[in-house]
């Protein structure tokens, strides 16, 4: 009949659902400019840019940001290496225990974050490992592997095996094939996986509270402010900046994979 026209109720329900998802985030952008200091009063009594300058001169915000970027960068590199290797093994060959390997990779995000967190914490306590940047990285890299893995596996599946055989028939050895045939094919998938892994690590707070000790990543800094607010306007500005920054990777992922059948960012 009229299968290409959606019923009105469905349209309203879908639009309502999407508005429910987006309006709260937009609110963050208004609050960053409010002149109100002590409460969350709406509507904002006035608008100002003052808090951006105040935030800019806060060393604790910069330190937390630096730590977050450092942790996310190291974790992303580790996840890229481990995830790509694992994806190459799983998608190229069938072997005993293949399903177990995929399960092992997915497990860190399938189980609640608090389980991963307390597990690492109790391992550190049993093994007497002192908290440091590296204990944070250990946790982050572990759950970032799956993001890279998912993207790489999808791309490996679409890269035809005959392409690789052709390259080797024409006299290229395995490393030349890797350099000139496999890598150019994988590049965008790895960039997307890397960006999303970075975003995941940059924003992670649940596991980090268990592995950070006294150090503050940006999410931990924000959590402190949410539990014990000190200067609300600064929190507002940081929240807006974080909201903007975390949108970039998914926009980039969309831009790089549009036109393919791959849906980036599916498995968070």
């Amino acid at each position: 009949m009229h299968s290409d026209r959606a019923p009105l109720t469905l349209k309203l329900a879908a639009a309502g659902g999407l508005l429910f998802l987006h309006l709260p985030i937009l609110l963050i952008f208004v609050y960053a400019f409010t002149t109100e200091e002590k409460s969350f009063a709406w509507p904002p009594p006035g608008l100002t840019l003052k808090w951006f300058a105040v935030t800019w001169h806060r060393p604790d915000v910069w330190e937390a940001l630096a730590l977050s970027v450092r942790v996310a960068a190291i974790s992303t590199v580790l996840a890229l290496i481990l995830g790509t290797l694992c994806a190459a093994a799983v998608s190229r060959t069938r072997f005993f225990g293949r399903e177990t390997i995929s399960l092992l990779v997915i497990l860190p995000i399938a189980l609640p974050g608090v389980v991963t967190g307390i597990a690492l914490r109790s391992a550190f306590s049993l093994a007497d490992v002192p908290f440091s940047t590296w204990t944070i990285v250990l946790g982050h890299a572990t759950f970032c592997v799956v993001i890279v893995y998912n993207n790489a596996v999808a791309r490996f599946r679409r890269t035809s095996g005959s392409l690789i055989e052709a390259s080797m028939d024409l006299g290229a050895n395995m490393f030349q094939t890797l350099r000139h045939v496999i890598m150019p094919n994988m590049a965008t998938a790895l960039v997307v996986g890397g960006m999303l892994a970075f975003a995941l690590s940059f924003d992670e707070v649940i596991v980090t509270t268990f592995t950070a000790g006294q150090q503050q990543t940006l999410p931990i800094w924000m959590l402190e402010e949410l539990v014990r607010p000190r200067e609300r306007p600064v929190t507002n500005v940081v929240a807006m900046v974080v909201a903007l920054v975390t949108m970039l990777p998914i926009l980039g992922a969309y831009y790089l994979t549009r036109g393919t059948d791959q849906v980036a960012g599916q498995g968070k």
Binding site: M1, P7, L10, A14, L18, H22, P24, I25, L27, I28, S39, A41, W42, P43, L78, L82, G83, L85, C86, A88, T93, F95, I101, L104, V105, P108, A110, L111, P112, V114, V115, T116, I118, A119, L120, S122, A123, T142, V145, N173, M174, F175, L196, V205, I206, T209, P219, L226, V227, T235, A239, V242, A243, T246, P249, I250, L251, Y254, G265, K268
Partner: protein, 309 residues
């Protein structure tokens, strides 16, 4: 000369690996399996081990002897309440997420074409990937007593309705930001996007002609939904519910920021390991979501939910 020589080493190595794919496979798998096996499984094992220890309540030190007494503590009324409350909350959130996510997923799968496909894709992905804490913070702004919700209800002359609702037991409280309802709203908001994509994937496999056939055979839209669309979407809904259920089960930050002082499993884990230093009890609490999710995944697998992932 050196270049030619190193290339021949490369070629020889590559020939060797080509003839022995098992060696290549082991080389590929070794780093990730070692990492995940030692760091992740090792930690899970340490967690399991800790849960069989106990704490000496007088000295506050951990007693490294095998015992089941820590698990027995889970069944004291206060602790069992925490587990029950968390599971109920996770179930309610999963249900509400499915109801809100379904129309979005259905529209995206069946009607969104061309430009609208991109709009829906980004419309679903951006909230999914935007910062977790920022999302919680946004709701703190909305639900605060002086916030936008109260303002809007006052504008509509409906604030008596909110007052009446807040005076209800269990779900009510002083203001929405310190009530169980507030916790529920934020849980649904934060985890609902995880439900949309699996449902959408399941619905995209339903041919439009099947729904038309159902209508042609005389089914009203509600009947088509009940007997054709819903059963076909169910594996997707179950797949999505794995995420919403598991994530709600283990979250301890949302109820800490928005909600009452009554604890959830995640908070119990955090408090026992932190302030109390009772890692064994924290570990035993953490085993609860693992067991529940294990049962849940087993059930979901039997319903064929993994094909929709």
């Amino acid at each position: 000369m050196i270049a030619a020589r190193s290339e021949s080493i490369g070629t020889r190595l590559s020939d060797m690996l080509w003839r022995r794919p098992a060696v290549l496979l082991v080389l590929l798998l070794l780093p990730p399996v070692l990492w995940l096996g030692i760091i992740y499984l090792g930690s899970l094992f340490a967690l399991l081990l800790q849960s069989f220890f106990s704490i000496d309540h007088f000295t506050g030190l951990i007693n490294y002897r095998f015992t089941l007494s820590t698990y027995a503590e889970l069944f004291t009324p206060a602790n069992f309440d925490i587990i029950l409350r968390t599971v109920t909350m996770a179930a309610c959130c999963t249900l509400a997420s499915a109801v809100i996510a379904f129309p979005i997923a259905y529209y995206a799968a069946r009607y969104a074409r061309g430009k609208w496909r991109a709009v829906f894709y980004l419309g679903i992905m951006m909230p999914l990937w935007s910062s977790y804490l920022v999302k919680i913070y946004a709701w703190k702004l909305i639900l605060a007593k002086e916030g936008i919700l109260t303002w809007a209800l006052e504008g509509l002359r409906l604030n008596w309705l909110l007052e009446a609702y807040l005076s209800l037991p269990v779900v009510g409280g002083n203001s929405l930001s310190v009530s169980t309802t507030g916790t529920f709203i934020v849980f649904v908001y934060v985890w609902m996007p995880f439900m949309i994509l699996p449902i959408q994937a399941a619905l995209e496999r339903v041919p439009g002609s099947m729904l038309e056939a159902s209508g042609d055979l005389g089914a009203r839209p509600a009947q088509t939904f009940r007997h054709v669309l819903f059963p076909l979407a169910l594996p997707g809904i179950v797949a999505g519910s794995i995420f919403t259920f598991s994530l709600t089960l283990g979250d301890y930050i949302i109820p800490q920021i928005i909600g009452t002082s009554r604890l959830f499993i995640g908070q119990a884990v955090y408090q026992h390991q932190g302030i109390a230093g009772n890692i064994p009890l924290a570990a035993a609490f953490a085993v609860v979501p693992i067991v529940i999710m294990g049962l849940y995944l087993w059930g979901a697998k039997r319903m064929g939910a993994f094909d929709a992932l």
